[in-house]
């Protein structure tokens, strides 16, 4: 009996501290993974998977608690808000946590079989260490309510993200990683300077307290608060890879191992977009943008990003490079939703975070599956490959359809909301941007999917190793199946995710 009570006590402590444990579970497992002997191939991956399952349980608990009792404030170390660090779990955080952990768990399952083929065996422990640190700090970024804490977590995420690119070795990866590191540090330096300015103006680091002090600060120190806003914008735009500052993304995402590309494109850049949204709407309220039209600038950059990203993607011959450029276009949609400053548009933009995380990871993973089995990276060699790899190419086809926004896929829902948002906000120009980009997406995605199944294999470009096409392991097939089914499921029943998003949007635009 007493042991039962003890178990119950431990469980209640576990759930009571869920907001911080969601980060710590991954960080602690990362430390343990680093201690593992470098011989085994499956042990580090097993650790990572176990940590992800624990984090999923905690996320489920947080989702239940937030939906039933409203937002959770967690004071770290028991020191209340202006003195200590505070974690704030809102519907938006829960939405991001669900996105991060569901996609990341599938990526870990996939990488169990794919990674030993891509990187050296003795580096697997290091890879999963960095991966867990990265995902843990991403989760922390979604729940933290303290600007300086955000800076620290962003640096963990930056080093982790660059680490899982550099792990592959070779000149391209190293160079891409260094470029990413330098630009992302430039971004964080800007964000830290902006944090210093806001701290000077309000005397607080907690976002809620800064928001309370900003009302007077904007009036008393207009230049300072606007410079801080500009620095935040530049910093987050670098990190989220919006158009003029996207230069690091194509190299980084195309040269990395496939699971790293999936997590970087699917999750990392989205988190910074959400942080930027929080800064914009909580610290600087939408009222400020009536005087200083930052959101107009975001809209223009987002539109250029959408169009230019799609055009560059069309010109690529390497499949992963094409997917990387397509990410620039897709992050443009998220920023378009933020820039519209309108409930429906923002719903579409936020929903696109979840949808794009699913479809882009699926596309990167299916491209990775093709590379794993046949070693083909070039788009023109992929003709007729659907007959050899029906599953991977079916998943690719579903992803391609979702990217274009064909009805009954999840991409359609978010694009529909964005399109309705542009009309309701009275900006039909941006509807044109959305339609044009859907057309462009169709031009470069669908021929690959159609060619893979109905194209004539070209014997001239037939690589020698094509005959011995490896079988796709179950652990790589399973995530593809789940993601493909998910893309269709959330295309037909989008209600579940919309509940979380509409709650968020209702707090931003009351």
């Amino acid at each position: 009996m007493s042991s039962l009570l003890d178990t119950f006590g431990v469980l209640s402590v576990f759930f009571w501290n869920a907001p911080v444990l969601v980060v710590l579970v991954l960080w602690i497992t990362a430390c343990l993974t680093a201690l593992l002997p470098s011989k085994g191939t499956w042990l580090p991956g097993g650790f990572a998977l176990a940590a992800h399952f624990l984090a999923l349980i905690l996320t489920g608990y947080l989702a239940w608690a937030v939906l039933s009792y409203g937002e959770i404030r967690y004071a770290l170390g028991g020191w209340l808000a202006p003195w200590g660090i505070e974690f704030l779990v809102t519907r938006l955080s829960v939405f991001m946590l669900i996105t991060i952990f569901s996609v990341s768990t599938l990526i870990v399952i996939y990488s169990l079989a794919d990674l030993p083929h891509d990187i050296e065996t003795h580096l697997l422990g290091g890879y999963y260490t960095l991966y867990l640190l990265l995902v843990g700090s991403l989760a922390g970024l979604c729940v933290t309510n303290d600007l300086f804490n955000m800076f620290v977590l962003m640096e963990v995420a930056a080093i982790g993200a660059c680490g899982i690119i550099a792990v592959k070795g070779g000149p391209e990866c190293t160079e891409a990683s260094l470029k990413y590191m330098i630009l992302s540090c430039l971004g964080t330096a800007g964000i830290l300077l902006a944090t210093a300015l806001l701290y000077k103006l309000t005397g607080h680091l907690n976002i809620d307290y800064i928001a309370a002090g900003m009302g007077t600060a904007v009036v008393r120190y207009p230049i300072n608060s606007m410079v801080a806003l500009a620095l935040f914008s530049v910093g987050f735009i670098v990190k989220a890879a919006l158009f003029p500052l996207h230069v690091w993304l194509p190299d980084a995402h195309s040269s990395a191992p496939s699971p790293s590309s999936a997590v970087l494109s699917g999750l990392v850049i989205k988190v910074y977009a959400v942080l930027y949204l929080r800064i914009l709407v909580h610290v600087y309220t939408p009222a400020v943008f009536k005087i200083v039209p930052v959101n107009e600038l975001i809209l223009i950059l987002a539109s250029i990003s959408i169009i230019v990203g799609s055009l560059y993607a069309m010109a690529q011959t390497d499949i992963k490079r094409m997917l990387a450029y397509s990410s620039i276009a897709q992050i443009g949609y998220v920023f378009l939703g933020i820039g519209l400053m309108h409930p429906t548009g923002l719903t579409g933009g936020l929903l696109h975070i979840f949808n794009h995380a699913m479809m882009k990871s699926m596309l990167f993973l299916s491209a990775g599956a093709v590379i794993y089995c046949t070693g083909i990276r070039s788009i023109k060699d992929m003709k007729g490959i659907g007959l050899q790899m029906p599953l991977a190419m079916s998943a690719f086809t579903v992803g391609a359809m979702a990217m274009v926004g064909i009805p009954a896929t999840n991409g359609f829902i978010s694009k529909l909301y964005l399109a309705m948002g542009t009309l309701e906000a009275g900006r039909p120009v941006y509807l044109g941007v959305i339609l044009m980009s859907s057309l462009l997406n169709g031009i470069y995605y669908l021929p690959i999917a159609i060619g893979a199944f109905f194209g004539q294999q070209d014997p001239e470009s037939w690589p020698a190793n094509r005959g011995d096409c490896k079988r796709l392991p179950l652990s790589m097939a399973l995530p593809l199946i789940i993601l493909a089914v998910g893309c269709l499921f959330f295309g037909i029943f989008p209600r579940h995710m919309l509940v979380l998003i509409e709650g968020t949007v209702a707090t931003i635009f009351p």
Partner: protein, 89 residues
Amino acid sequence: MRRILTFAFLAVIGFVLVLTVAEMPTYGDPSNPVHNEVAARYLEQGTTETGAPNTISAIITDYRAFDTLGEATVLFTAIAAVVVCLKSR
């Protein structure tokens, strides 16, 4: 040409930042927003609440200990990344 553009860009940034500095609350003024109830509590009750006469240690090891954990994690991440990077091909 590129050099001129770079200098023009830097001049604009420098000018804006100088204007920002000129507008800031005066250096060392006790009525600045920074010197508010947060700092006051650290100084007045820090010793009794944490047992450390050095308020800075009280903050980094108790009030904002999670930042310090994050700092240790950044160091750990950097070490792991350096090791992985140098050991790879």
